[in-house]
């Protein structure tokens, strides 16, 4: 019964996606549709825009408006120490192997506002590896990269982050890493002194370096299988032999061509290692 209206909405969004690609070069054609449609509806609702046609005019007329649309469509919700067991596994199973390299290179792909980046940096520091590690933190969205650089997060999540830190095997006082003020926690900027931030679009950009560890957690869930495969290939091209690939807890390499060249380090936490 509702189908016709829904179909019309979807056709309009598809046209919008094409126009955005030709005007701004951002390619959303490989994004999983259920989420895209939901994000567009949410944006329409929040901004009091009544039709996709109206939205399209605004997005194509005004690049600032497009920025805010981009931010909404690409989910940027993230947290520190999401899945503490993952970070514990990274600490116990991956970092000891990485410590055998004189110089370590890590790619945090889709770093969003930086919560995961700072969690990772804390781990590296506690394991004595931070000074000889370079982290490349990338995201499609320039605005969130700026936020990530600042390392300021709302204190409303402090309790969850603190328990996540200890559950992941944290060795210090969590509060020693940040100053809290005016409802925000500002993390020690020395944690990211070896981090390079720059925009990278997984859907369209290519490999730019070789890494010992690639982290890309809960980003691929927004892509369709075809785009996922393309990104897996990109990660494969970007990993050294015996390099590590860390995905989100519900993401898998299983369907990918590259999977035969990868072994589980920790199945439950979806950490893979490339064969030699």
């Amino acid at each position: 019964m509702k189908v016709e209206k829904e179909e019309f909405f979807e056709q309009e969004v598809e046209a919008l996606i094409e126009d955005i690609y030709s005007q701004y070069g951002y390619d959303f054609s490989g994004y999983a549709r259920a989420s895209v449609y939901r994000r567009v509806k949410r944006f329409l609702n929040n901004k009091n825009v009544s039709t996709v046609a109206e939205l399209k005019n605004k997005v194509l007329d005004d690049s600032y408006y497009f920025e805010s649309f981009l931010q909404e469509i690409t989910v940027n919700v993230t947290e520190m120490f999401r899945d503490p067991s993952f970070f514990q596994s990274l600490r116990n199973n991956v970092l000891p192997m990485l410590s055998t390299y004189p110089f370590i290179k890590i790619w945090d792909a889709g770093c969003s506002t930086g919560e995961e980046l700072f969690s990772l940096a804390i781990l590296l520091q506690e394991e004595g590896l931070l000074d000889r590690t370079k982290i490349y933190a990338t995201d499609i969205n320039q605005k969130v990269l700026k936020q990530a650089k600042e390392g300021i997060f709302p204190t409303s999540n402090i309790a969850a982050y603190t328990s996540g830190y200890y559950a992941s095997g944290g060795k210090k006082e969590f509060s020693s890493y940040y100053l809290s003020n005016y409802g925000n926690m500002k993390f020690d900027s020395s944690l990211i002194k070896n981090v390079v931030f720059y925009p990278h679009n997984l859907a369209t950009d290519s490999s730019f370096n070789e890494f010992h560890l690639v982290l890309c957690r809960n980003v691929l869930i927004y892509f369709n299988r075809e785009l996922q495969e393309k990104v897996f290939k990109l990660f494969d091209d970007s990993l050294v032999e015996l390099g590590y690939l860390a995905l989100g807890k519900k993401e898998t390499l299983a369907m990918s061509q590259i999977s035969r060249n990868y072994n589980f380090v920790d199945k439950n936490n979806r950490i893979y290692r490339k064969a030699s």
């Binding site: 999983a32 549709r33 989420s35 449609y37 939901r38 999401r82 691929l220 869930i221 898998t252």
Partner: protein, 188 residues
């Protein structure tokens, strides 16, 4: 005679685990209609929930993996800390976007997404819970012409969830758990 529904979605919060178990344990292993279960739960319950259901149900129980295809004779559990969406090709999508109704997984998110794919050919059931999540999702199912059921608020351990749904969907079916089980068994 109406067509057999192609999907059953069940939501619950406080008291929802027990309530859903008592419905589902009465369904046979060859119960055709796929069932998606969205429960609010503690993150520390990760994984354990699946074992509880596996032990008690004849049906196959799986925690949802992204891109997984919805198959007959399965009960699918929404994973902790992800929203569950359904794609046109009847596969699952996961999403870690904002909490909805203080919840992730949110029942509204899954119900609303399922309607867009299954239209009137689905059943939505809301059980015990101390949260209003699920009400507008149930309304979406109702508006599409699907079957909507709430657990009898008198029987529910916490009645906030079914009562809130009743406000938005006054013509939904009100049933006790035993009756819901009989009803589901009569369909397939």
């Amino acid at each position: 005679m109406e067509a057999t529904p192609e999907l059953i979605v069940i939501g619950g919060s406080w008291g929802g685990i027990q309530a859903s178990l008592s419905i589902l344990k009465g369904l046979p292993a060859n119960y055709k209609i796929p069932i998606v279960l969205v429960l609010h739960r503690l993150r520390s319950m990760e994984g354990e929930l699946q074992h509880i259901y596996e032990k008690k149900l004849a049906l196959k129980v799986e925690e949802i993996e992204e891109k997984e295809e919805i198959k007959a004779c399965h009960v699918y559990l929404a994973p902790a800390n992800y929203h569950v969406l359904i794609e046109k090709d009847r596969t699952f999508s996961l999403d870690v976007s904002e909490l909805e109704n203080y919840s992730r997984p949110s029942i509204d998110v899954t119900f609303t997404s399922a309607v867009e794919v299954f239209d009137e050919n689905m059943i939505g059931i809301l059980l015990s819970g101390a949260n209003k999540d699920g009400s507008s999702g149930l309304q979406a199912i109702r508006n599409a012409g699907g079957i909507t059921i709430i657990q009898d608020p008198e029987e529910a351990e916490v009645s906030t969830m079914p009562l809130s749904a009743l406000e938005l969907v006054p013509d939904c079916k009100i049933m006790k758990l035993e009756r819901i089980q009989e009803f589901l068994n009569s369909l397939a």
